[in-house]
């Protein structure tokens, strides 16, 4: 059996790098996986599937130890043991971290391991997946890739395929997500016939830098930083008297947005995150990255001045619907990480649970997919499929400029409408308007033009393909948000401000049937935690 890893950017450039804060696990003797699981269930506003959450939280401690053994330079306490920091929505300090480069450290160490086993793993770095193929029985048979370096197109036949393509944040502007987070995997799976789930659940992070949307890690609040409005009030006292700044993200983001909407924000439309209350040595040791972000991207010294922040798009809880082994609706096709929806995050993801999700379900998908691959013959992908994809890409490249809008223009409009109408607070009228615009943009994307006619590193044509991915997925996000007529987790409907367990304690699934999105429901798995009112 051979394994190939395909990535449209060099793997160490992947967006997991951006995860500053850390990764959760109940590893301390006085902590328990049940407590971690309960926090996650509550954080999800009871939309998370509890069987999956149990698996994730039970397997978390061993995963941290495994990473530690591979070489991740986790922070130590005075005794030389793994040390933790506090994170939002958690009842214990169970976030393990590497300064504020946790994701980078984990990603790089995993890449080191990939180099170590390079005799067993083929790496295709800077190859772009254009299409997931299925055979006549509806099984996944491989994928079609474009070699970015020379523009050649190839079929990768595969017994099993795992999507680990990350998030979709570029659908919004601003976003904390990197330019490569363009919903590729979600869109390819959706087009191939897989169901998407919980797509309406878009997380807005409470502390993104005003202006460019860069993330200020929750670790800052974990280390003790405060939020203030323009009146100098620590407004979280009103909304979460116990957990204050460390309530769940949806709660803190809404509180901030309320302050801003009701005129208690600063004139630039921000609230202030004050890190100066954290001891300096600690800032330099544990929040080094945001010292640099403050200095390089906002021109401020965060050890001396408050940081202007506002809620900003950060994470998509929804994604390709999978079971606890990563299997999608399409046999042989798996999904893990931010592209997938198991669902462990439900309506709202807790900070530092996402890296964990990628690792636990990534591993489970790998184990399962390898087992299935051993039992299967290599499928065939007809050459006509490759020709079809090649023609389609050539058509994009050859569209005459001026015959449609520029790809960049369509993308900008998409980002703006999503951030305006499908954000922290939503209502029917706004969502309907967004649907109309997104559907128009989806059509415009089909004729949008680019400039680059070349084959070597034609990033322009990749942008055009990505735009198609994003408009498809944006439509499902808006449809989900319209469908869910209640407020739960990240979905807050001002026209339906209450959570309504009777009618809406269920997942919204969306799949493509005869070219049209079709909505279905699926039940939420509850094992031991019945829904309760959610206060922090």
């Amino acid at each position: 059996m051979t394994v190939g890893i395909i990535s449209k950017i060099h793997p160490v450039r992947s967006h997991s790098n951006a995860a500053q804060g850390g990764i959760n696990a109940a590893l301390n003797p006085d902590d328990s996986w049940e407590s971690h699981a309960f926090d996650t269930v509550k954080g999800s506003d009871y939309l998370g599937d509890q069987n999956a959450i149990e698996i994730m939280c039970r397997e978390a401690p061993d995963e941290i130890l495994h990473l530690e053994h591979l070489g991740v330079t986790f922070h130590r306490n005075d005794q030389g043991l793994l040390g933790t920091r506090a994170f939002g929505g958690a009842s214990a300090a169970r976030t393990y971290y590497v300064a504020d480069i946790t994701g980078q450290a984990i990603l790089h160490v995993l890449y080191e391991q990939m180099l170590k086993y390079s005799d067993q793993i083929d790496r295709y770095e800077e190859w772009f997946t254009v299409d997931i193929t299925t055979d006549d029985d509806g099984r996944c048979s491989g994928a079609i890739m474009r070699n970015i370096r020379d523009g050649s197109l190839e079929v990768f036949k595969a017994k099993t395929v795992i999507l680990a393509t990350g998030g979709s944040g570029q659908i919004y502007k601003p976003t904390t997500n990197a330019l490569v987070c363009t919903a590729d995997g979600q869109a390819m799976a959706y087009r191939a016939g897989a169901s998407l789930m919980d797509m309406e659940m878009i997380q807005y992070h409470p502390t993104t830098l005003l202006g460019n949307g860069l993330l200020i890690t929750e670790g800052a609040r974990g280390e003790g930083a405060h939020l203030y409005n323009a009146l100098g009030e620590r407004f979280m006292e009103k909304d979460a008297p116990n957990k204050m700044e460390l309530a769940s993200r949806d709660v803190v983001s809404r509180a901030e947005q309320t302050e801003i909407n009701e005129g208690r924000g600063f004139p630039d439309g921000s609230v202030h995150l004050d890190v100066t209350v954290v001891p300096k040595k600690r800032i330099h040791e544990a929040l080094r990255e945001i010292v640099m972000v403050g200095r390089d991207f906002a021109g401020i010294d965060i050890t001396k001045e408050p940081i202007p922040v506002k809620p900003g798009q950060h994470y998509i809880m929804g994604g390709v619907k999978t079971d606890v082994d990563g299997q999608t609706d399409i046999p042989g096709l798996y999904a893990a990480g931010e592209v997938a929806c198991v669902s462990v995050h439900g309506g709202n993801r807790l900070g530092a649970n996402s890296l964990l999700d990628t690792l636990i379900f990534g591993k489970r998908s790998g184990v399962h997919a390898a087992g299935v691959a051993k039992q299967r013959n290599m499928p065939d992908v007809p050459a006509t499929r490759l020709d079809q994809v090649r023609d389609e890409i050539d058509e994009r490249i050859n569209r005459a400029p001026g015959t449609g809008r520029r790809v960049s223009e369509v993308k900008a409009e998409l980002g703006a409408i999503m951030d305006a109408k499908v954000a922290v607070y939503r209502d029917e009228a706004g969502l309907q308007e967004a649907l109309e615009v997104v559907r128009r943009l989806k059509e415009e994307a089909k004729t949008a033009t680019i400039d680059d006619k070349g084959t070597v590193f034609n990033q322009d044509v990749l942008g055009s393909i990505e735009l198609g991915y994003m408009t498809d997925i944006a439509e499902t996000i808006v449809l989900g948000a319209i469908e869910r007529k209640e407020s739960r987790g990240a979905q807050f409907r001002t026209d339906y401000p209450e959570r309504n367990d009777e009618e809406w304690l269920k997942h919204i699934d969306i799949k493509l049937v005869d070219g049209e999105p079709k909505i279905e429901y699926s039940p939420v798995t509850i094992t031991q935690w019945q829904p309760q009112a959610r206060t922090y």
Binding site: R76, Q79, A105, D296, A298, G454, N458, Q459
Partner: protein, 374 residues
């Protein structure tokens, strides 16, 4: 809204044409990064401008370029700072990084150079035997220490302008050396000696660095590769008595002594001090060969303005040389060895007072760096 002119070096191998410069005018606030301006030019004017980029936050390591001749990340260089170093005060020159072949426009082939070098340092942890049941117990400081090199984002900015790599393309280079220290400094790794023997014996290994400081100066993540190289050398010669064919240990001692005496690097004295008085006088045959090999380096220093004639003739002690000497006293007065570590930078003096003396080291390490940057 201020207007900026980007002068971008364009190259596409498919056209058969040589590289050329093309200018793009962009209106944008000066506190926005150069990358945003390039992306705006790409969005509105020419979608074929090639540049790798993703995070826009100096964390993915994609966007290394040369801005007005200096290697940097496009995403954390602000337009107003870039224009300040422009030759004509207006036009920002943007070129691909050096020391690596250009693929297209601002995109270089890092596999062919950087990643190949990373492969040379056995870039994974080699633990001794089976892992413990729980975590490895290791000192807090050791993890903070190697995290400095873990913070390397493999952007290649240091590789771009490494002086030694220009002279010897096989040189292991700053980033791969930092990667090597990431394991050598990690108490969980069991291959320390092998790693050091390998790095020391490799003719293009750690003793091939000319201490030009460029990598320290340009690294956007404070990895300070040259410092890691010096620490690798110290470990190799000091801890493992690995014979240094290239005379680097004496070079390093000379370096340390010069800093103690002058506070900054006295480049004119460095070569003679490293290789023996009267230049060829007492030097070993190996060292003589190396000194001759180093001469072009010194000359290049002259040519690039790094070693200027006035500098050679009048080398001034820095004003607060007492402070530097105090640091030496403190460091040398301690029973255990302290590694110079730049990891926790930016703390001001009062914080140091509060927290005790152990963080005095950054000042020692940064003082010469500033000189090197001049």
């Amino acid at each position: 809204m201020p207007k900026y002119t980007l002068n971008i070096r364009r190259f596409s191998p498919e056209t058969g044409k040589p590289a050329y410069f093309e200018t793009f005018d962009v209106e944008m606030e000066g506190h926005r990064p150069v990358l945003d301006a390039i992306l705006e030019a790409r969005a509105d004017q020419d979608g074929s401008i090639g540049i790798r980029c993703s995070c826009q936050a100096a964390i993915c390591g994609s966007c290394g370029v040369r801005i007005n001749g200096n290697p940097a990340l496009a995403c954390n260089t602000l337009l107003r700072d870039a224009v300040a170093t422009a030759e004509d005060g207006v036009t920002i020159d943007i070129e691909p990084m050096g020391n690596m072949p250009v693929i297209k426009d601002l995109i270089v082939d890092m596999d062919a150079v950087h990643w190949k070098k990373v492969d040379r340092v056995v870039p994974w942890l080699v633990p001794a035997g089976d892992p413990p049941e729980r975590e490895y117990v290791v000192p807090h400081e050791a993890m903070v220490d190697v995290t400095q090199t873990m913070a390397c984002i493999h952007c290649g900015v240091c590789v771009s302008d490494c002086l030694s790599m220009e002279a010897d393309p096989e040189f292991i280079g700053p980033a791969a050396s930092a990667k090597a220290y990431r394991f050598v400094g990690d108490p969980r790794d069991s291959a320390t000696k092998d790693r050091l023997v390998h790095l020391a014996n490799d003719p293009s290994g750690i003793y091939d660095c000319t201490h030009c400081f460029k990598c320290v100066e340009v690294c956007p993540k404070g990895v300070a590769p040259m410092n890691q190289i010096m620490r690798l050398r110290r470990r190799a010669t000091g801890d493992y008595k690995i014979k240094d064919h290239n005379n680097g240990y004496r070079h390093e001692k000379a370096f340390v002594n010069i800093i103690e005496k002058w506070g900054t690097l006295h480049e004119a004295k460095l070569l003679p001090d490293s290789y023996g008085e009267g230049i060829l006088g007492k030097a070993t045959p190996d060292a003589q060969k190396n000194l001759i090999g180093s001469l072009p380096t010194a000359l290049r220093g002259l040519a690039s303005g790094k070693v200027t004639i006035p500098k050679v003739l009048h080398h001034h002690k820095i004003p607060d040389i007492d402070k530097v000497q105090d640091i030496y006293k403190k460091v040398e007065g301690r029973p255990e060895r302290i590694e110079l570590n730049l990891y926790i930078v930016g703390e001001d003096a009062d914080a140091l007072e509060e927290e005790g003396a152990s963080e005095v080291t950054p000042i020692a390490a940064t003082a010469p760096a500033e000189e090197g940057a001049s």
